[in-house]
């Protein structure tokens, strides 16, 4: 009798249109995925030379998310699910999830602000706190950055929106500053000439904007000097190494010493006020 009932159930399922609906839904899924992937591919191809990598990525994500949502609705409708009731339930569920995941929602809202602000894009070199690296991915929840020693750093959008972000490669040229102090008796005119010659002879230092030479202040090490040479952002390492080396050589040749901060450490028994050695109590 039981066996008969089971067979009856299977027969009823087979005879009903449920199987056909499942089959149709599976077909919709396969075709839908294919269409979404094709649209995503075409979007990437058509915009590759016209828009930035970041805009391309956002556009691609919008196409994928919208496509997946439409596909989900179509499949559920095909399976006979009451969408109005489901959306009502989803609203209540969404509220509950929202309350439970306020941080994530905060990150998503911050992500939207970051995207609209466009203070950096994929491929830019940014510095956040003590971390610097190349922006690798900008998502709704976080920004992923690859550091120069090849580590992946994930920074939540909420952190980024409320902290100082330095975009190192936003502008095509940069100024590299060399700051040091020289003794009070240094010939400052000769020092300026020496530094300017170093910049002029450097193949990657830009002739214009002209390098800046600034006597900043008198400090406890002597006279604080700032010398800044301009360069194309891609020449950073080459300029830094070559100018550092050249300035050091030129200063040495010109007998100009750079004042170093010093700490004097003395060992042995401390002298007493009357000039004699103070005897420590036993």
């Amino acid at each position: 009798m039981d066996l008969f009932s089971e067979n009856d159930l299977v027969a009823r399922i087979l005879s009903s249109d449920i199987l056909i609906r499942i089959g149709k839904a599976a077909l919709y899924y396969l075709v839908g995925i294919l269409i979404i992937r094709l649209t995503s591919f075409l979007t990437r191809r058509l915009t590759s030379s016209k828009v930035s990598r970041q805009s391309r990525m956002i556009l691609n994500k919008i196409v994928t998310y919208v496509g997946m949502s439409v596909l989900l609705v179509v499949i559920l409708a095909e399976l006979g699910v009451n969408l109005a009731a489901l959306l009502g339930a989803a609203g209540i569920l969404g509220l509950a999830v929202g309350v439970a995941s306020q941080k994530s929602l905060g990150n998503m809202v911050s992500g939207l602000f970051l995207l609209s602000e466009r203070s950096f894009e994929i491929g830019d070199v940014i510095k956040v706190g003590d971390k610097a690296g190349i922006v690798h991915d900008v998502d709704l929840l976080s920004v992923k950055m690859r550091t120069f020693d090849n580590l992946l750093v994930r920074i939540p959008n909420e952190t980024l929106i409320s902290t100082e972000v330095i975009n190192i490669t936003r502008y095509p040229i940069r100024r590299m500053d060399f700051e040091f102090s020289v003794p009070m008796d240094t010939d400052l005119t000769a020092l300026e000439t020496l530094l300017r010659e170093s910049a002029e002879s450097n193949p990657v230092s830009l002739e214009e904007p002209r390098a800046i030479f600034l006597l900043k202040k008198w400090d406890h090490d002597g006279i604080a000097v700032l010398f800044g040479a301009w360069f194309l952002k891609e020449d950073y390492i080459e300029l830094k190494n070559s100018m550092f080396r050249d300035i050091t050589t030129r200063l040495t040749d010109a007998n100009i010493t750079v004042s170093m901060p010093r700490i004097r450490v003395e060992s042995g028994p401390a002298e007493s006020a009357d000039g004699g050695n103070r005897t420590e109590p036993e």
Binding site: Y171, S205, L206, E207, P209, R210, W230, L232
Partner: protein, 264 residues
């Protein structure tokens, strides 16, 4: 990049043309001296092209370190003159002022580098490039928006007359017209040499003629490049086409008036 097709339509060859566009034999070698004393060494062994550059203070030029390029066939290899790959920011060596409605006509000398090209006509491919002399890098425009260029100090003497023949120098016929009601006292002028072609005329090499119309500091200037050799040089032969296509938006920004922007 386009290199002149060497066919029967070419007028009688000129000294400058013969100096350049030299074909390297299948198993030949050649040395070319650059204006700064360096020597470019080229060797062709069938499909293998070896190139090297030696500095003037290197004693042993017979044992240089060669770069090797493997070619896809046995097509011809040419040595051609090349204009710099970036624009030149011209700095007059003396203060220059042009009154309203006046104009200056000058020949601007531009150092030529060497290019090694494989193939002919539209199929020609640039394999190696050796700049003629070291040109200082500079920036034209604001620090947040401008373009990279080379700095080039030159004389803006009036006149388009013949210059000292030198196959390693190209002369750019330049006309600056002041069409504004103010005196034009400029410090920098950008000359976008990658948009220019080269022409050989007897012992000289010329570029296209460039005309710049100044309409005031607040107005964009108009730059026109007249394709072809300047008037009166009918025997000119084009030996090298422009390196890049001209951009109208870029051509409008020509003058720079130095401001104290960078000293802070």
């Amino acid at each position: 990049m386009a290199v002149k097709k060497r066919n029967g339509t070419v007028p009688e060859s000129t000294a400058a043309e013969e100096h350049w566009s030299v074909a390297l034999d299948m198993n030949g070698e050649r040395q070319v001296d650059l204006s700064d004393g360096r020597t470019v060494l080229l060797k062709r062994n069938g499909v293998e092209l070896l190139s090297a550059i030696s500095l003037p203070d290197e004693e042993d030029v017979n044992d240089p370190v060669f770069d090797v390029t493997i070619l896809d066939g046995e097509g011809p290899t040419f040595i051609i003159p090349m204009l710099p790959d970036k624009p030149l920011v011209l700095q007059p060596d003396a203060e220059l002022r042009i009154l309203p409605d006046a104009r200056i006509r000058a020949h601007i000398p531009i150092p030529l580098g060497i290019g090694v090209v494989y193939g002919e006509g539209e199929e020609a491919r640039l394999i190696r490039e050796f700049p003629a002399i070291h040109l200082s890098k500079t920036w034209f425009g604001e620090p947040f928006d401008g373009e990279a260029a080379y700095s080039w100090k030159t004389t803006f003497s009036d006149g388009l007359g013949p210059r000292q023949p030198d196959e390693r120098i190209a002369y750019c016929p330049l006309v600056i017209r002041n069409e504004s009601p103010e005196v034009l006292g400029f410090q920098r002028l950008i000359l976008r040499v990658p948009f220019l072609s080269l022409y050989a005329v007897r012992a000289h090499i010329y570029t296209d003629r460039v005309t710049v119309r100044f309409r005031g500091q607040s107005q964009v200037s108009q730059v026109s490049i007249e394709k072809g050799p300047q008037k009166g040089l009918d025997s000119a032969v084009r030996i090298f086409g422009p390196r890049s296509k001209s951009d109208r938006a870029l051509l409008r920004r020509s003058f720079s008036f130095i401001k104290n922007l960078y000293t802070g």
